[in-house]
């Protein structure tokens, strides 16, 4: 009984809304009509597990992502689709179509990643990568970690402002 209660508590804890630090912003590209003032957030929580930590097959942490977009006008045709991609864009996964509440959910098991919201012609679950206009994008907080060696020459980069829209 004690074990079950503990598992239940852990489940509840992991399903709780993400703290501010576990979310990151989505920044508009202004490339899609009606999205010029759009903003959004991606809440990141550990994927629930009765064992406390959920891991992917390769040992990476699994995270649940909840994408929420605000101040965007519904497209006249087509749909808004949320994606997650590695920083190098060599791997892309489809999170899903943003519903009427402009939210979508999905799971990722990468350490550093980018969330993309694009405008697509139709809801095609088999689609492997965006082909339409990118409306918003955001970088995981882990993605802000980078090496000094990788600072561009003479970029005068502000590490604290790393990401989109800075």
């Amino acid at each position: 009984m004690t074990l079950l209660l503990a598992l239940g508590a852990a489940w509840t804890f992991c399903s709780a809304p993400a703290a501010d630090y576990y979310s990151f912003d989505l920044v508009t590209t202004k490339n899609l009509p009606g999205s010029g003032y759009a903003s959004g957030t991606v809440e990141v929580t550990f994927a629930p597990s009765p064992f406390g930590v959920s891991l992917a097959g390769d040992g990476s942490y699994s995270y649940d992502l909840r994408v929420r977009v605000e101040r965007v006008k519904p497209p006249r045709d087509g749909v808004l689709v949320a994606w997650v991609a590695t920083r190098e864009l060599d791997r892309v996964a489809r999170l899903g179509v943003l519903g009427e509440d402009f939210t979508a959910e999905g799971r990722v098991a990468w350490n550093k990643y980018i969330v993309v919201v694009s405008h697509e012609a139709e809801d095609d679950p088999a689609q492997e990568r965006w082909t339409g206009t990118i409306a918003l994008r955001g970088m995981s907080r882990s993605g802000m970690m980078h090496t000094m060696a990788g600072h561009g020459a003479f970029q005068q980069e502000n590490c604290a402002a790393y990401g989109y829209g800075n």
Binding site: T29, K30, N31, A85, R87, E88, L89, K112, I114, V116, I134, R137, M139, G143, M144, H146, T147, A149, G150, H151, G152, A153, F154, Q155, Q156, E157, Y162, G163, Y164, G165
Partner: protein, 449 residues
């Protein structure tokens, strides 16, 4: 009862000083520059054309082809502000009064790429074909942090459908991309790309090898920066030096400025240093006169003038280091002047907040401003470094004297200066040497042959 205060009477010296100040010209009193939003240029400068290119702070350096039957300018596109494209624009100047955008190359998924994007752009010719090299800088957190440059085949212009991508130069061990680049037709007949990177020197690539398909072996050398802990170079120029029959590299970077013999690109040899110069801890753009005696040296901070150095004591072997300029030029002492193109005795300057500036170095001890046009009438930045706005890049077409400016916020400009109808160094008693390359000239022979 108190006595009334005595009437105040100014002392004679105060009256004299007040009269002197009153009689001074307005410009002297406030140290104002002559260009204003309503009177932007000197009388001898004609604005031929202007092509706005979009967002504020979205334009970087530029390059113009020298052959009159290839009237194309290339403009690097970056995001230094908050919006803009990342790539390069190809612009026709067949009619300099109506520059026309022909083609836009953009990095794919540009909205997902971090940092600025395009920075410097140059062109070259190899085996009868023309190419464009666009330097690129992408930050971590997004794709292509190892991408330094893209090469486009632009032979088929003005038909934009013929532009095709030939190669991408990547340096995974030196992420962050390439900043400034220079392309030089070497005395050995090859065409080399010199580039800044996160490296302790300037990387050298054989562009012929790259476009012929041998990218893996194309990095053929590096011009080092002397000293430990070097951040490398910021900008450079490479040119033939007739007096020594050497191909010489002029680079600004950590500690100052350096001149190398790069006749053998695999084994650069240091010739002259300019270090210990007051106010110069890091050199920027560095360009010699056609004969290599004088150099114009930039540093990248507010209030810094262009410094003029005479290398003669070092060229004659009396010293190996020069540390004192003989003169200086600035447009507005409160600002900063940037890149420059030397067409002796003229120096064409992209003067950031002060636009196009042209000065004459016929008397190197006394640079004289001979023309200007303010391409940017806005204020200094408040969201970025205050000085980095306005005229960024400058180039000159030698055949007809066309002057071009790429402005970070207002786009591409074309100008003519009265009395400057082209440039050939021989006309001024100098070798015909400038940043403009003669792609079809045969390789120079050693003097001994």
């Amino acid at each position: 009862m108190t006595a009334p205060p005595p009437a105040w009477r100014p002392a004679p010296i105060v009256l004299a000083l007040a009269a002197f100040i009153t009689l001074l010209p307005a410009g002297v009193r406030s140290q104002e520059v002559p260009w204003t939003p309503m009177n932007r240029g000197s009388d001898n400068i004609d604005v031929l054309g202007h092509l706005p290119l979009g967002h504020r702070l979205s334009v970087a350096d530029m390059d113009v082809e020298q052959e009159m039957d290839r009237p194309y300018a290339y403009v690097a596109r970056m995001v230094y502000g908050t919006d803009g494209p990342k790539g390069t624009d190809i612009i026709s100047i067949a009619d300099p009064e109506k520059p026309e955008l022909l083609y836009e190359w953009r990095i794919e998924d540009q909205d997902l790429h971090q940092r600025t994007g395009g920075m410097d752009v140059k062109h070259f010719k190899w085996n009868g074909r023309y190419y464009l090299v666009q330097s690129l800088q992408f930050g971590q957190g997004g794709p292509d942090t190892d991408l330094g440059a893209v090469i486009l085949d632009v032979t088929g212009l003005p038909d934009p459908s013929t532009v095709r991508e030939v190669a991408r130069i990547r340096e995974p061990e030196m992420p962050g991309g390439f900043h400034n680049i220079f392309i030089y037709k070497h005395g050995d007949g090859r065409v080399y790309l010199f580039t800044t990177a996160n490296a302790p020197g300037a990387l050298i690539y054989d562009l012929g090898m790259i476009v012929d398909g041998d990218l893996d072996d194309a990095r053929v050398g590096m011009v080092p920066v002397p000293g430990e802990g070097s951040r490398g170079y910021h900008d450079f120029y490479v040119g033939y030096h007739p007096d020594t029959d050497e191909d010489r590299f002029y680079g600004g970077g950590t500690g100052g400025y350096y001149i190398y013999d790069v006749s053998d690109v695999a084994n650069p040899e240091l010739r002259i240093t300019l270090t210990g110069v007051s106010g110069v801890s890091y050199g920027h753009t560095f360009t010699p006169s056609p004969d290599g005696r004088y150099v114009i040296a930039e540093t990248e901070y507010q209030y810094a003038p262009l410094r003029i150095f005479d290398l003669q004591p070092a060229l004659q072997g009396e010293v190996s280091n020069i540390r004192s300029p003989i003169s200086a030029f600035t447009a507005d002492w409160r600002h900063l002047v940037h890149n420059h193109e030397v067409r002796w005795p003229y120096v064409f300057v992209s003067g950031y907040l002060d636009g196009l500036q042209i000065f004459n170095l016929q008397d190197p001890l006394n640079p004289v401003t001979v023309g200007y046009y303010d391409t940017y009438i806005g204020p200094p930045n408040t969201d970025r470094y205050s000085q980095f706005n306005g005229a960024f890049g400058v180039d000159v077409r030698n055949e007809d004297g066309l002057i071009l400016i790429s402005d970070m916020s207002t786009g591409l400009w074309t100008f003519r200066m009265d009395g400057f109808q082209g440039w050939d160094g021989e006309d001024w008693g100098y070798p015909n040497i400038s940043s403009a390359q003669d792609w079809d000239a045969p390789p120079r022979r050693p003097i001994s042959q």
